[in-house]
């Protein structure tokens, strides 16, 4: 196949692989009595898509966990007490009551000090933790404090504190920022049913939008368990690389070291692996905590913050690289990616070749680092997909006009011979990969909400197709067996309702409908119910798949 034209007129598939690619005549030669012919009626077919960074669990699972939801805009303490009691009644036992939310203002109006003293009067014998509406604090009762081992002697965490009585030093039951993690660590993990439903809906949705491989970055043993149960049920209709979380502040990862030293192989299948690790090296642009190579505009010294020392990262990359584990490093500032590339360089020096590591987000990259992606075999992953004008995207453009010109620099990495991929980073941006696909070609708002193009340079449609397909396969280390329509490769392809080369991309690519998704020769998605009741019946039916963002799909 011509690598510049990774789409085809006709293919023959056997045992999950392409056995021929080309014109109709060549296919006829391979036909036998078992052959099923599917006439696509001239529709456009291409390799399936690769979303290389996303989080269905973080997006959906909390909503499915059946946590307490007081359900009022400004609940009073009485409303909250009632909601807690109702919840306790409908969820009998001695388990945690966890949820949202309370409002400090209504407590002041009611002359009640929020904290364990009040919460104990409502619910003394089950642990309760409830967040405030603006996420600034968490109120817990005495039982919760006891289970989390928080006493007058407990030291405060970094970036947060335990509010205490000024005379006795006892915790008041109000926890700030970093202190939430102590409660999360004492709580049972997000329920399996919620994780499973979240991932299953993510998988369904992704298959329906033509995604054949993805990376779920940040997982723990419970998340892997949920993924495995979907896989075991034969519902894992795309390939998943799961990245074990290197941190405990998103959710605690109690079996991290067991997973890394080999327990991860327990989850391994043709569709699922956990041979990766994810961590947050720096912060985010919105709060100017991304680690830049020079101070933030208007600052003398402030360059943003690193959550881990460069030495920590270097030793970790060298160590994991040696063990065949991919390191996916959240680097939104050009200073963070610079240090990450240095760490990979050290791993190459010590270990030789090794794993293709991944620079996640890559919001800003230094010009001088563009060539290092190729040199060091590092994937430049661009996410979330907000490289088009929107209020949300503009909230991330504070690092100065000069730097903004290179925002999400797909073109720079590709021109320097490197591999660029994309990630939706749901829920930070929409899980529909087609929005990012269109806008990397246009850098314009798909709905015409803004007339001017966004910062940064567009790439060609041919380049974008590679970013969305074969480059993803490369970043998963499977480009020799998937990612393009070539004889011998896994028969993963998608059939579209339009020909991408016969349309004006702006406004017409993001709403592409995927009619059929084929994964390893199996039809997993059939939008028009063409194959209903037939031997080729799809795994997912069109009425099963949730829509998350109606507005953004048109």
């Amino acid at each position: 196949m011509d690598p510049g034209r990774p789409w085809a007129e006709a293919v023959a598939i056997k045992d999950g692989r392409f056995i021929a690619v080309g014109g109709r005549a060549e296919m006829d030669a391979l036909r036998d009595e078992h052959t099923r012919e599917v006439d696509l009626q001239g529709r456009f077919a291409m390799p399936g898509l690769y979303d290389m960074h996303t989080h269905p669990d973080l997006s959906l699972a909390p909503g499915y966990a059946d946590y307490l939801d007081v359900g009022l805009e400004s609940p009073t303490p009485d409303d909250i007490a009632k909601a807690i009691l109702d919840y306790a009644e409908s969820h009998p036992g001695d388990g945690w009551i966890y949820g949202s939310y309370f409002v400090h203002f209504t407590f002041r109006q009611a002359e009640i000090e929020p904290g364990c003293e009040w919460l104990d009067t409502v619910m003394p014998d089950r642990p309760v933790a409830i967040l405030d509406r603006s996420w600034g604090s968490m109120m817990v009762n005495s039982k919760a404090l006891a289970l989390a081992n928080i006493t007058a002697d407990t030291p405060d965490p970094g970036n947060g504190f335990i509010q205490r009585d000024s005379i006795t030093g006892e915790a008041t039951g109000i926890l700030i920022d970093g202190a939430y993690a102590m409660i999360h660590a004492a709580m049972p993990p997000t329920p399996q049913h919620a994780l499973k439903r979240a991932y299953r809906e993510g998988v369904q949705y992704q298959s329906s939008r033509g995604v054949v491989a993805t990376k779920y970055v940040h997982v723990c043993e419970h998340r892997l368990e949920a993924l495995k149960s979907i896989d075991d049920a034969g519902e894992m209709t795309l390939r998943v690389e799961a990245a074990i979380s290197w941190q405990d502040d998103i959710f605690p990862v109690k079996r991290r070291w067991e997973l890394l030293s080999g327990e991860r192989h327990y989850y391994r299948s043709a569709r699922l692996n956990a041979n990766a690790v994810k961590f947050h090296f720096d912060g985010v642009h919105e709060t100017r905590s991304s680690y830049l190579s020079s101070p933030w505009p208007g600052e003398e010294k402030w360059r943003g913050g690193l959550n881990l020392t460069p030495e920590h990262i270097t030793d970790m990359v060298v160590d994991l690289d040696r063990r065949g584990i991919r390191v996916i490093s959240h680097c939104t500032g050009d200073g963070a990616s610079d240090l990450f590339l240095d760490a990979v360089a050290e791993a190459r020096r010590v270990n030789g070749g090794g794993v293709r590591h991944q620079c996640a987000h890559s919001t800003l990259l230094l010009e001088e680092n563009l060539a290092r992606f190729k040199e060091l075999n590092v994937t430049a992953e661009f996410s979330p997909a907000v490289w088009y004008p929107s209020d949300f995207a503009y909230a991330r453009t504070q690092a100065g006009e000069e730097k903004m010109k290179t925002l999400y620099n797909f073109k720079g990495v590709l021109d320097a011979g490197g591999v660029a991929v994309m990630g939706t980073d749901w829920p930070v941006s929409n899980i529909n990969p087609w929005i990012g696909f269109e806008t990397m070609v246009t850098r314009k708002n798909p709905w015409g909400d803004y007339s001017e193009p966004f910062y940064g340079e567009p790439i060609s449609l041919e380049q974008a197709i590679k970013v969305m397909t074969i480059n993803g396969a490369w970043s998963m280390g499977i480009e020799h067996k998937a990612g393009s329509i070539e004889v011998g490769k896994s028969a993963d392809l998608i059939v579209l309702d339009r020909n991408l080369f016969e349309l004006e991309p702006q406004g017409n690519l993001h709403n592409t409908r995927v009619d059929i998704t084929v994964m390893e020769g199996e039809i997993v998605w059939d939008r028009l119910d063409q194959f209903e009741q037939a031997e080729l019946e799809a795994v997912w039916k069109s009425d099963q798949v949730p829509t998350f963002y109606e507005r953004m799909e048109d």
């Binding site: 973080l58 909503g63 203002f105 407590f107 002359e111 005379i167 920022d177 929409n430």
Partner: protein, 317 residues
């Protein structure tokens, strides 16, 4: 950092755009208080909150930043505070103006992080309210208004020409909670001493600033000036009674300071720092002399000395 400095007092001023914060800041900066005041305008928070709102408009849940520290911590504020603390000319006072769309409770929380405990102390949190504006708040602005008021020690109602008495009255009914300390003014004409409280307790400042000393026999009107009330006693107080009494002080009593002799901590002197509706009582070193209570209270216009005396005597354990 060395501990030879006492912590720098910080006052946080919140309020929506147009409520009068800028007028007020200019007044403070141009005033002749003779202090080195550093002013920070927390406008970075604006973008942060905006983007959160945008995310939530499009998506049904946005709890990603909820658990994840790297997204919620105000690292820029932390860095700026470090910078101020380490200036060669250390400021004597820090004023932080939070922008119209950021949640001042996050700023206050950050000031209380362990890393700042030896360096900074929250002096006062003041919310400036434009009564006219408040009648029509909805959605996220309404929620933010609640955040501003719930963290405020003193609520300043700033009347523009537009705000009628009725508007102020309806603001009070809809928005004020019990025992709020309120200061009503026009054109943000707020006495600097209200915001930079330490002035009021210093004897070496001109006496005109701190007004005259009221006593139990005082029965007259004091207009547009501060009134002081002092209380002394050698009987031990009950901590819970004291906390309760201090919470219920009249709405024009803005500050109190001093030491108390608590039954719960008889060997140690306890310090009282009251700003508006916030009361802090902290255990300090052992008594060097005979334990006793010594409190100074400051209000605007009239303080009812007899009433205050009674309220404090009710705290005997």
């Amino acid at each position: 950092m060395s501990k030879k400095f006492s912590p720098i007092p910080v006052t946080v001023i919140s309020g929506f755009l147009g409520a009068g914060k800028t007028t007020l800041l200019n007044r403070i900066l141009n005033g002749d208080h003779g202090r080195k005041i550093a002013v920070m305008v927390n406008d970075f928070g604006e973008i942060n909150i905006d983007s959160q709102l945008i995310v939530s408009a499009e998506q049904s849940m946005v709890n990603l930043s909820n658990g994840c520290i790297c997204c919620t911590v105000e690292s820029d504020l932390i860095e700026q505070l470090h910078k101020l603390i380490n200036l060669r000319e250390r400021p004597e006072y820090i004023l932080i103006e939070t922008s119209g769309v950021s949640d001042p409770s996050k700023v206050v929380n950050t000031l209380c992080y362990p890393q700042f405990r030896q360096q900074l102390t929250v002096d006062a949190v003041v919310a400036i309210i434009d009564a006219d504006n408040f009648s029509s708040l909805d959605g996220d602005r309404r929620k933010l208004a609640m955040d501003q008021l719930s963290v405020a020690d003193i609520v300043v109602i700033n009347k523009t020409d537009l705000a009628t008495t009725r508007q102020v009255e309806s603001f009070r009914q809809q928005w004020l909670y019990p025992y709020a300390r309120v200061f009503e003014t026009q054109f943000a004409d707020i006495p600097v001493e209200l915001l930079l409280g330490t002035e009021l307790f210093e004897t070496n400042h001109s006496p005109s600033k701190s007004g005259h000393q009221c006593n139990a026999n005082c029965d007259h009107n004091h207009n547009q000036q501060f009134a002081t009330y002092s209380w002394e006693s050698d009987q031990p107080l009950s901590l819970s009674k004291l906390r309760h009494a201090l919470k219920q002080l009249p709405e024009n009593l803005y500050r109190a300071k001093g030491f108390v002799y608590l039954a719960e901590s008889p060997k140690h002197r306890c310090k009282v720092h009251l700003v508006g509706s916030r009361v802090e009582i902290e255990k300090e070193e052992r008594w060097q002399q005979m334990p006793k209570n010594q409190l100074v209270m400051i209000g605007w216009n009239n303080l009812d000395a007899a009433h205050l005396n009674q309220a404090l005597e009710n705290c005997y354990s």
